[in-house]
Structure formats: structure tokens, C-alpha cells
Symmetry: C2
Amino acid sequence: MEVQLQIKMNEKLFLRNPVETELGRKIIQYGIQLIHEIGFESFTFKKLAEDIGTTEAGIYRYFENKHRLLIYITAWYWGWLQYRVVFNTNNIKDPAVKLKKVIQLLATTVVDDDKTIHINEDLLHQIIIAEGSKAYLTKHVLEDNMEQLFKPYKDLCAVIADIILEYNLKYKYPRSLASTIIEMAHLQNYFMNNLPSLTDFGKSKDELKVVSFLEDLVFSSIRKK
Amino acid sequence: MEVQLQIKMNEKLFLRNPVETELGRKIIQYGIQLIHEIGFESFTFKKLAEDIGTTEAGIYRYFENKHRLLIYITAWYWGWLQYRVVFNTNNIKDPAVKLKKVIQLLATTVVDDDKTIHINEDLLHQIIIAEGSKAYLTKHVLEDNMEQLFKPYKDLCAVIADIILEYNLKYKYPRSLASTIIEMAHLQNYFMNNLPSLTDFGKSKDELKVVSFLEDLVFSSIRKK
DNA sequence: TATACATAATAGTATTACTATCATAATAAA
DNA sequence: TTTATTATGATAGTAATACTATTATGTATA
């Protein structure tokens, strides 16, 4: 049996739903590749159009601008991660085991998921690490947030916060700790590879050390005192 | 007695030293204002030139591009913060007290420092919160880092890591914890004000709660077990 | 067969991110 | 005092970016 994974996206993220057409799927697929390759600042719809073999105007029919495309792919990533968190912690009773699973899912390299054809999850993971925060670090966060564009991120954060509370109902900062885990899983990885003296893993460049750091951080904080 | 604070900047950050001329100082002063006002993406040298009453080409004589200006002002901020950390923890023996001071300096609103005339530290602090990470989240981090452009950030991180080790010599992740404190001091503040459900302080919007969260996080992690 | 629809092809605009040149005023060295 | 040097101003120009608009064409659907 073949299972196909579809993540329902907020309709405000696009002008025309990219998963419904060939060109739309190509925009996502090649968009991820190109952003990964040249970085979000250098990325333009014109270059993407050339890669795909279509025109700039063609891409504008799907996305208002490149920032919306970035929010789209980050939102997709958070939705997918939440699916993986829920799937992989299903039937686990011990919240400590769940939390370790969450940290591992967040901080280690992604293997390409066959359930999604046009999305390369490994590249996407690397984009989230290097460009993810640019989705919300803008002057129009508040408006974007009112349109619920960041809901997948917030939902994931809430899922993790719930596991934290399951572990220790009295812990006072479940959401902040959850967002800290998410952000640091990515940022420590980025620092390790690019600004190694900001971490303790610069030499080995081993992402399992990021996992150890985060586990230590989290479990020290939430253990019952 | 009047004390004037000068922070020595890496010469590679600029083409012509902005502190040495009237126009240069205006570029910094009005640059901070304008980036704060319209955000780094919308910020252009042309708009800045109009604000100052000079020309675009005039500003290009000081900075290669707007990204270099961003690195310049963030580097200045980290240098200034390190000065404040060293100054404020001087003569304190207890590393726990020192660490609390560091967290407070990082996470609470800055009062404009009279020792620097052309820099509004409060605006700068807000720029660091919203735009700071864009200084290093680029495709050319490695080159920029080789030119030592991020040295002030790394130095500050090292200073904090040393205090952590002073508290507990056996703690395994002093640098990663230091960079986590720095980043989270800013990011939790940003989330609190813009994406409140990612934090536990959305309702009160009280930065002292960010301080409490960070203190709890740090001291749980580094206490001797 | 009509028509709705996705895409392609083309053109055009304001703005961005620069570079280059020349003139002029102020300042410092000879 | 003359001569350089330096800082700035004024102006022009270019390639690329970030779009919008229009028209034509092929293809699936009613």
C-alpha cells in the first residue's frame, strides 16, 4: 500500500494552490532547491522561472512574492514536523521518552520522506536552519500572524509544551522552553557549522552533541525540584 | 568629568571610518533610526541619504552595502554589551550574581547611554532583537567570519562562557549555553511582543519574566549535580 | 461545440543596488 | 602662501529586482 502525505496549507499563503498543478509543484520543488543553493536574499522568481522553464509572471500567479513562498515552505515544514512528532510519540507513555524523541526529530538530519514526492526534506531542513527565522523577522509579522500564517509553528510549539507539562505540570515556562528547543535545535546546528566558537561542538560537528546539549538543558529545567 | 566611550571597530567593516567624520556619524545615527523605523528589508541607502540630506553615492563611500552597515551596528552593539558586562560584573566575586547581571543586561530595556552621542542604544537594542540574526544568516557567513566581522559577538559569548565555568567547571556546554542565553534573551522578547503564543509571557509582556525564564533555564542546567 | 482554464510570450514600470565622473569647499602640508 | 589632499555634493548611468498587464494558445471539461 502506498501512502501519500498531504499537508493542508493555509489558503492565504498562495494565490493559486501549488500542489494542484504541475507548475505549482515545480515551483515548490525547484524553489526549495534554488533557495538552498543561492540563499534567500539572492533568490528571485526570475531565476526560479529559468530553472523551471517558465516565466516570472507564471510564478507570480501562484505566490504574491518570494517572502510568501518562504512562509509557505516553512509552514509546510512545521506541519510535517508536527505530523512526525505526533506519529513518532504515539503510543509512548513516558513523557521523557517523548521529549527525547522530539529533540531528536528537531536536531538531527532528515531522511527524505518518500511520502512526499516533490519535496526534498533534507534540503528543506537546511533551509529552515539558515532562513527559517526570516519568515517571521519582518515589519509585517503582526499582520502575517493575524492571517494565521505561522499557525503550524505555533501548533508544534503547543504540542511540545504539552509534553513538557505532561512531564512536570508545575513547570512554569512550557511554551518558552518549547520555542527555545525548536530554535536552538536549528541555531546550534548553524553555529556549529558556520560560527563554531559559539558552540562546544565546533570540532566534531556532530549533531548528536546538539541533541545531548538540548536534552541536558531541557531535563535539568523541567525536573521536579 | 566627562567620559566618552569609543568602541574600536574592525576596519574591514567599512570603507571609510564613520566615527571620524560628521557625515559618517550621521550615517550611523540616522541609519539606526531608519532601520528601526522601516525594517532592514525596506531600508536602502537612497532613503537614508534623503534623511541625512546627502546622496546615495556619499553613503557608499563609507559602507560597501547595507548588509555591511548592519554588521557594523550589530558588532558595535556586541562590543558595547561586552563592555557593560565587564564593567558591571567587575569586583563581583560570586559567579551566580555575575550571571544574573549578564542575563539582566541582555534581556532588559536599555537606557540611552550618554557616553555615546550619536548612538541611540534603545533603538539599537530593538534592531538587534528584530534584525540581529540577519547579520550572520547569509550565504557568505564563512567569508565574513574569516574577516573577523563577528568577533565582538564571539568575544561576548566567550566572556559569558567563562563565567559559566567559574560557576561550575564541570559543565559541558558553556559556549552553547552562552549563545543560547544571548539568542533567547532577544528571541523570547521578540516572540513575547509579536508571536506571543510561542512564550509564556504574552499577556503581561513583561521582560522581567524573560529574565526569570532565562535564570531558571541557566541555573538548572549549570548547578552541580 | 463552447468555454473555462492553465500556461506561455511579451512588454513595460518603478525601485534597488550599485559605479563613475566632475566640481567645489575645507583643511593640512610644503 | 601656494599646493595638495580630502570630504562632500551633484549628476548620470546601468543591470538587476520586483513587480503588473495584455494577449495568445493549447487542453480539459460541460
